[in-house]
Symmetry: C2
Subunit: 403 residues, 2 copies
């Protein structure tokens, strides 16, 4: 039998990252490729205790729940966001989702007609691009530097394209790991209001902040509640398996997304939501996050130490101030996709950068994750990777000599 | 700020059922309106024990999982379906979803272009209609009787409309509670193959079967694995809060749905999936289901007893052989939506039937659920409802006399 799939499936592609992860999961490879938190740091005892408390609530805790999510958890998130992020919204402005990935999807679903324009950074989060493409939107990249989107190009593109929304990861972005300046955040918000464009602010990594004092103001905290949708998740701060994220923003949009969610899956796991509520109530999540920060910061420094040994022309990177990734650029003649098999041969893996680009992919870029491996593995893996890079550079020199 | 929502949102409507449920949840009303299993029958101790065993597996159980779902649970479902339903497929043909609602949504997402035709029964499952409409498909009703779709009308509509797929709930359907005959199942499959149309078989209630010996063959069990997608859920047999359903069918379609799911939410809660796996492995689910059957069968009979007291012209219903619902038709001059406030005034609620229709709604129909209330409540609630109905019939006579 021949199946006639919908037109939108032409834009589906299995994530390049995912395919690499599949290869790597076989065999004894040190992977800097994924975007995983470290299992060993998961607060297992606290999570287990939280479920126990849910079950103590009796059988009715296991009945169908509200599409919008477990109300006490929405209230707890509203409180937490007001205190920690200065985003002040009511629980009714919050929708609980199956990870923040679902928040992106539901937002795209209620916003995008085929052919609509979405503005993004370049490179940006791969799985968000996949969502926008699956709704047959056209993604247009705005030029950016390490401090965020470039003001002139942003305004130019808002005027030219009349986009439906701007998707940004302004704090420790995936894949670049950079942080937008406050000025650029304010500027984006100002333009968004001027041109009547919604901002979708994706902030999965904001809590993985190496220097608490530095603090970064979410764009949503600068808004009056009209222009910005803000999404985050417990996947990086508690555990991923619970798949609980949230999105907060203008009630009219959140309500429409809840209607979309009703058709999409009725509601997310309410046992998990209730467990998270107990965990937020009874467990010192902030102390736990402080612990994560210090461990991940140390690992970042171990990786940085190895990178600093490299003296390769054209190599550049920004030292992360939080989040989970280094983003590196090599000499422009080096294709990191072609180099990957050599790295895997040496027992180490990374993600080539090109798939993260909306347009004009830089084939000499790659992403390294430092959160999933212990320092000794980072040391060893990086020493292997360094030798692969150094050899690649030798080949370039030889080629050049031959030309 | 004015928000320009996507065109598809014009087809969103908050479920009429859901709105009624909201009204009812306030106050002390006996509700036959929802489609809920009874909390008191939830196997709380077994579920709690299952989670405990997941946590015994250590921290890595809480890492990100596969989009397709927890592999051992997929294997266990494949085994269970082969034994209990004679549907023989490999684990790779199974995708785990956030309830079977998500299976419907992902299937529609990979299949439907705007304007595509979907054939359904009339009336049919409301939330499936909402999904199809949200993808801007056109739903066409096939004439049916208590044994399933009528052969001539089905073939006529397959020829005329060249539908993308046929959506059916052939065993204890929602809302009608009827069961398709084997002949009609075979006939649908034959036509589907002849006209190259996929069948989406939704079977959430198949396990809630009052007479084990009667058994009903899923359409998927009659197929060679090419034509039928089959979905079911643990929401009715274990607990709803886990939100775990599955869909099985041709690998090419399942793989495409997995790609759609990757963009939609990466994966569903893997803690819940692992707990269900432990539960299937260590707990006698079949004994538990046998218990549910006998309790729900008794409640159905209690409701039936009250219905049999009624002697109203034009009243008709089929005695359910399983599932969760009675579907009733009254004298054609009675509008069950108009009657509902009177029922609520008397402390009892039901769902008017009209919203379940694709076309030609019968305003004199309504649905009664018998699984969520204990026998005494069913007795009392039905006696109240009976008096509301009898009074409504009196009014008709008076009106007629006046004409």
């Amino acid at each position: 039998m021949k199946y006639a799939f919908a037109q939108r499936t032409r834009n589906f592609e299995s994530s390049a990252v995912r395919d690499i992860l599949k290869v790597i999961s076989q065999g004894n490879i040190i992977s800097f490729a994924g975007g995983l938190p470290d299992d060993d740091l998961f607060p297992l005892a606290a999570v287990e205790e939280a479920y126990k408390r849910v079950f103590e609530g009796g059988k009715h805790t296991m009945q169908y729940g509200l599409t919008e999510g477990f109300t006490p958890l929405r209230e707890a998130i509203a409180d937490r966001m007001a205190v920690r992020k200065q985003i002040r919204m009511d629980a009714q402005n919050i929708l609980l989702t199956t990870g923040s990935q679902q928040a992106i999807d539901l937002f795209a679903r209620v916003m995008l007609n085929p052919g609509d324009i979405v503005l993004t950074e370049n490179p940006t989060y791969l799985a968000a691009l996949q969502v926008f493409q699956s709704y047959e939107a056209k993604v247009v990249a705005v030029d950016s530097d390490a401090s965020g989107m470039l003001p002139e190009d942003l305004e130019e593109k808002m005027k030219t394209y009349a986009p439906k929304f701007v998707y940004v990861v302004p704090t420790f972005s995936n894949p670049r790991g950079n942080v937008w300046s406050l000025e650029r955040r304010e500027h984006l918000l100002r333009l968004a209001k001027k041109y009547n464009v919604i901002i979708f602010e994706d902030d999965p990594y904001g809590e993985i902040l190496f220097d608490e004092a530095s603090g970064y103001t979410p764009i949503a905290a600068l808004d009056n509640g009209e222009t910005v949708l803000y999404t985050s998740t417990f996947s990086k701060t508690v555990v991923p398996a619970l798949r609980t994220g949230w999105v907060m923003g203008p009630y009219q949009i959140i309500r429409m997304m809840a209607q979309a969610k009703q058709a999409a899956d009725l509601h997310s796991s309410s046992i998990d939501q209730q467990a998270l509520y107990c965990l937020l109530r009874d467990f010192d999540l902030d102390a736990h996050i402080a612990g994560l920060r210090s461990v991940y910061k140390e690992r970042m420094h171990v990786m940085l130490g190895q990178l600093q040994r490299l003296n390769l022309p054209g190599l550049s990177y920004v030292i992360p101030q939080g989040g989970m990734f280094f983003w590196l650029e090599l000499h422009e003649s080096i294709n990191t996709k072609d180099l990957l098999p050599k790295a895997i041969e040496k027992g180490v893996a990374y993600v080539p950068g090109a798939p993260f680009y909306v347009s004009n992919p830089k084939h000499n870029t790659f992403r390294l994750n430092y959160t999933h491996s212990v320092p000794e593995k980072i040391e060893y893996g990086m020493s292997q990777l360094v030798s692969v890079l150094e050899e690649a550079y030798t080949t370039i020199s030889i080629d050049k000599a031959m030309v």
